[in-house]
C-alpha cells in the first residue's frame, strides 16, 4: 500500500505500524509515532492489531537522537 512516511510517499508491504517500523529498519532505536496526525503510544503500535494501516495513511516516525555517532 502507499503511505506518506515523514512527508515522503512510500510503497510498503507492512499492514500495521509495528511491521512498518521493522520494514523501515528502525531496529531497536527509541522512537515515537503518529498516524494521521494523532500520536500513537508505544504500547499501542507494538500491538499490531491496534494500528492497522490503510492506503494513504500519513505516518510520522521520530527517532530519539543518539548522543554520538558510532
Amino acid at each position: 500500500m502507499k503511505l506518506r512516511v515523514n512527508g515522503e510517499e512510500r510503497e510498503v508491504r507492512a499492514a500495521d505500524l509495528a511491521s512498518l517500523i521493522v520494514e523501515l529498519d528502525y531496529g531497536d532505536q527509541l522512537i515515537a509515532t503518529a498516524r494521521n496526525q494523532s500520536f500513537v503510544r508505544k504500547k499501542e503500535w507494538q500491538d499490531g492489531a491496534q494500528t492497522r494501516l490503510a492506503d494513504g495513511d500519513e505516518i510520522e516516525i521520530l527517532v530519539r537522537p543518539a548522543r554520538r555517532l558510532t
Binding site: 515523514n6 512527508g7 523501515l24 529498519d25 528502525y26 531496529g27 532505536q29 527509541l30 522512537i31 515515537a32 509515532t33 503518529a34 496526525q37 494523532s38 500520536f39 503510544r41 508505544k42 510520522e60 516516525i61 521520530l62 527517532v63 530519539r64 537522537p65 543518539a66 548522543r67 554520538r68 555517532l69
Partner: protein, 118 residues
C-alpha cells in the same frame, strides 16, 4: 553557536529526528557543543499536528518542547490562537512543563494562562 555564547539551541524535531539515520550527525554536533537542546514543533500547521508532535517529543523523553503552529505560509507568523489551543489540549492531556519563548505583545501572558511554564 560557540561564538554566540548560546546555551540553548532550538531544533525542529520533525526535520532532524525523522528517518532512521536522518539528522543524527546534526544532533551529534549540537550535543558535542554542550548546549541544551530545545526541540520545537516547526512545520506544524494545525493544532492537531503540533499536539501530536509535542506528544511524540515527550515520548522520546525530552523534557522541554517549544510549541509552534504556523499561521501564515508566506511569513511563517504563528497562529496565536492555535498555540493557545494546543497548549490547553496538552495540559488537559497531562503533558505539563511546556517551555515557551515568544516575543509577540500579549502572547506570553495568554500562553502562560493556558499552561505554559516559562
Amino acid at each position: 553557536m560557540r561564538a554566540s555564547g548560546a546555551e540553548v539551541v532550538t531544533v525542529s524535531l520533525r526535520r532532524e529526528a525523522g528517518g532512521a539515520q536522518a539528522g543524527q550527525s546534526f544532533w551529534s554536533l549540537v550535543k558535542d557543543l554542550g548546549v541544551r537542546v530545545l526541540p520545537n514543533t516547526a512545520g506544524c500547521r494545525s493544532v492537531k499536528e503540533a499536539v501530536a508532535t509535542a506528544q511524540m517529543a515527550r515520548d522520546l523523553d525530552t523534557p522541554w518542547i517549544k510549541l509552534e503552529v504556523i499561521g501564515e505560509d508566506d511569513t511563517l507568523q504563528p497562529d496565536v490562537f492555535g498555540l493557545v489551543e494546543a497548549t490547553r489540549v496538552l495540559e488537559r492531556g497531562g503533558l505539563s512543563g511546556l517551555s515557551l519563548y515568544d516575543r509577540g505583545p500579549g502572547r506570553p501572558q495568554k500562553l502562560i494562562g493556558a499552561g505554559c511554564k516559562s
